[in-house]
Amino acid sequence: MSIRVTTNALATNVLRDLESLQGKLSATQEKLSSGKRITKPSDDPYGTGLALGLRGELSATGQYASNVQDAIAWTNTTDTALSGMNDLLKRARDLVVRGATGTLDQSSRNAIAEEIDQIVAGVRQQANATYNGRYVLAGTAEQSVPYPPGSDAYGGDAQPVVRQIGPSTSVTINQNAGDLLGAGSTSNDGLALDTLEKISQHLRSGTAADIDTLGNADLANLDGVLDKLGIMRAQVGAVSNRLSLAQDRLQQAQTTATANLTSVEDADMTQVLIDYSTQSNAYQAALKAGANLIQPSLMDFLS
């Protein structure tokens, strides 16, 4: 038995098809105007989970990059301070070598001692270097002055300053001024302050024994301090290298994550445009067919 097609059924079918096509067109239009394949989780539940993960990765990568930026600025400040100290200590070494010469008169030695005192002040000033109001050579006690005026005691702590530069990857970026400068001449620790202050005392006293000490023990101590400083600067340089590598890697990761997110979340415009024109054609055809179908009836042919 053939199906009996009634006038109403015909009209209902045309209407239903038009509605369904319109629904598809509207979904395609949403993709076109938003440029997104996934505008709500039901568009692709698995893709949504993936997209959220990638968005998280992208955000984390951005944060790591900003952490690295901060760490680089910190190490640069540290490096500048240490390099300043290096220049000062080198100058001090020259002065010591000159002061240890027996032919020099006492007034010249006193002048050298004056300059050594200025170098001590300079070294202390470099130790108190700050980045954004924070003492970079004070460990985690970044708010305490490492060497406040009138005190030879180190004001910071020995704790590491750590920055996170990747998932489960962190790097210690600081050096402690205390390790290099020590606690002054009273401590006899052989570090920078102790050595320089003693040099200054020996220059001023001018006794044969002191001048001898200048040329031997003091010079040896100063070389030791310079070696220590060299190691510190090498460490800072290594950290700095690691950071700039991390920066490159993070930039790459950011590009990859963005590309991944785009492929998951964004609409394939070519595909969507083709879909749109196909659906739009189908819709127009349905409209035309509907208009032609419903119009005629037997009544048009009866007189």
Partner: protein, 458 residues
């Protein structure tokens, strides 16, 4: 021998029958667009023949046709298609409500976007990371507390929105099942129609249009919940309607065996645990223990709990420092999560050492990479919501197209085709015209017999 006027009677019967058929056609045309209307057909039957025991010239009995009559006006309807339609319509009622409500839940989540909960979590982790870079900065501390508050509010707002979807479902259920609601109104009208149809049936009338209305009401009820229709065994024409009761021995909503609306309708009706249809969906949605919304809220709660526990554990460095960053009531973490009131710009701690130490801040911000942490759980949650909505929408589309196709079948049987009615119109009109001509012919025959026969030479 037949009566002289036998032919006139035959022609009259034909005129009447064709006029009734024309009237039925007119009724069909008038109701071509009436929802729920089934086309009617005047059933034409040849009347009993006049048997002449020795009518023939050879003394053989003769059956002489006596014309036509309309034996009944029949409603063209397939009861089996009605059953199919109602079963499918019940499924459609369920899936349509599910798709709508779950769609609202999905909209409330607003993922994937730059303002959703996932983005707020990222902002929160970033704020901890920023703080680890500059532990003593007041600005970084304030930004962190703000990000924490924002995240906590985002979670509790989402939980509240899910709760609203459940509440709205409960309200809709109550209003549907209200004594002034649509179900009760349909039931009352069904009872009245039952009485009218039973009365008509008793008179031998078909009450086609009342039956159409009754079928339409039952169709409507089938969207709300499961329905079962059983013809009454004691009252011809009446039906007993069971509503939302899938048990083996259901209680009737409208009892077809009894007369009188008040006694017949059982209100409120007995509903099964799963009444199916729209009511079934509303029941599932508003449930606090099972169903999709309850399931999603449980998941969201687990996310909130995981977040609170992990952050607080890292914030106290595994219990070595006192304090907590988030506070929440155990068991309803999603609804009650907030930044602990004790956390201020001054009291916030970032590490176990000096003011500048950042081990705690680092530990908290590292939670973003924790496998199975809050971020992972939330991504799974978003996927889950998406699957729920996708399934509900797929079910809705499927049940819609099945309902439509069964309805199309039904229309194919019961719908009015104007072309067909126009054809019938011409058919019956011609038959009527021919019968009238028959009458004229007989009249002129009788005229010959009565007025002209035996008159000679006048």
């Amino acid at each position: 021998m037949t009566s002289t006027f036998f032919g006139l009677e035959t022609a009259l019967r034909s005129l009447r029958a064709n006029q009734e058929a024309l009237d039925t056609t007119g009724h069909n045309i008038a109701n071509a667009s009436t929802p729920g209307y089934s086309r009617q057909q005047a059933v034409l039957t040849a009347t009993l023949p006049l048997t002449l025991p020795a009518g023939g010239h050879d003394g053989v009995p003769l059956s002489l046709g006596s014309g036509v009559e309309v034996s009944s006006v029949q409603r063209i309807r397939d009861q089996f298609l009605d059953l199919q339609y109602r079963a499918q319509n019940t499924l459609h009622g369920y899936s349509s409500q599910m798709a709508t409500s779950l769609g609202e839940a999905q909209t409330a989540m607003a993922e994937p976007s730059d303002d959703g909960l996932a983005a707020r979590m990222q902002t929160f982790w970033n704020a901890w990371s920023d703080l680890s870079n500059d532990p003593t900065s007041t600005a970084a501390r304030q930004a962190l507390i703000d990000a924490g508050t924002d995240l906590a509010e985002g979670i509790s707002t989402l939980d509240g929105r899910l709760q609203t979807v459940a509440d709205q479902a409960a309200d809709q259920y109550t209003s549907l099942m209200d004594a002034d609601g649509p179900v009760k109104a349909d039931a009352d009208e069904l009872a009245e129609l039952n009485d009218a149809i039973a009365d008509a049936t008793q008179r031998g009338d078909a009450a086609n249009d009342l039956m159409d209305r009754r079928d339409q009401l039952i169709d409507q009820l089938s969207g709300y919940a499961y329905v079962k229709v059983v013809p009454s065994t004691t009252r011809a024409g009446a039906v007993t309607v069971y509503f939302g009761d899938t048990s083996a021995t259901p209680t009737a909503l409208v009892d077809g065996d009894v007369r009188g609306a008040a006694a017949v309708v059982t209100w409120p009706p007995t509903l099964s645990a799963d009444p199916q249809g729209e009511l079934g969906a509303l029941k599932d949605l508003s449930s606090t223990t099972s169903g999709p919304i309850a399931d999603l809220r449980t998941q969201l709660n687990a996310i909130a709990k995981s977040l609170v526990d992990a952050v607080n554990d890292a914030y106290t460095a595994g219990g070595t420092v006192t304090g907590s960053f988030f506070s929440a009531t155990a068991g309803s973490e999603a609804a009650t999560i907030a930044v602990d009131p004790s956390v201020t710009v001054a009291s916030l701690h970032t590490g176990t050492g000096a003011a500048g130490s950042n081990d705690i801040a680092l530990a908290v911000s590292a939670l973003r990479d924790q496998s199975g942490g809050a971020d992972d759980l939330y991504a799974a949650f978003a996927s889950h919501v998406g699957s729920y909505v996708q399934n509900a929408q797929r079910d809705e589309t499927l049940s819609q197209s099945l309902t439509d196709s069964i309805d199309a079948n039904r229309q194919s049987v019961s719908g009015v085709s104007l072309d067909e009615e126009m054809t019938n119109l011409i058919k019956f009109q011609r038959a009527y015209q021919a019968s009238a001509r028959m009458l004229t012919t007989l009249d002129s025959v009788l005229d010959q017999l009565i007025n002209r026969t035996g008159v000679v030479g006048l």
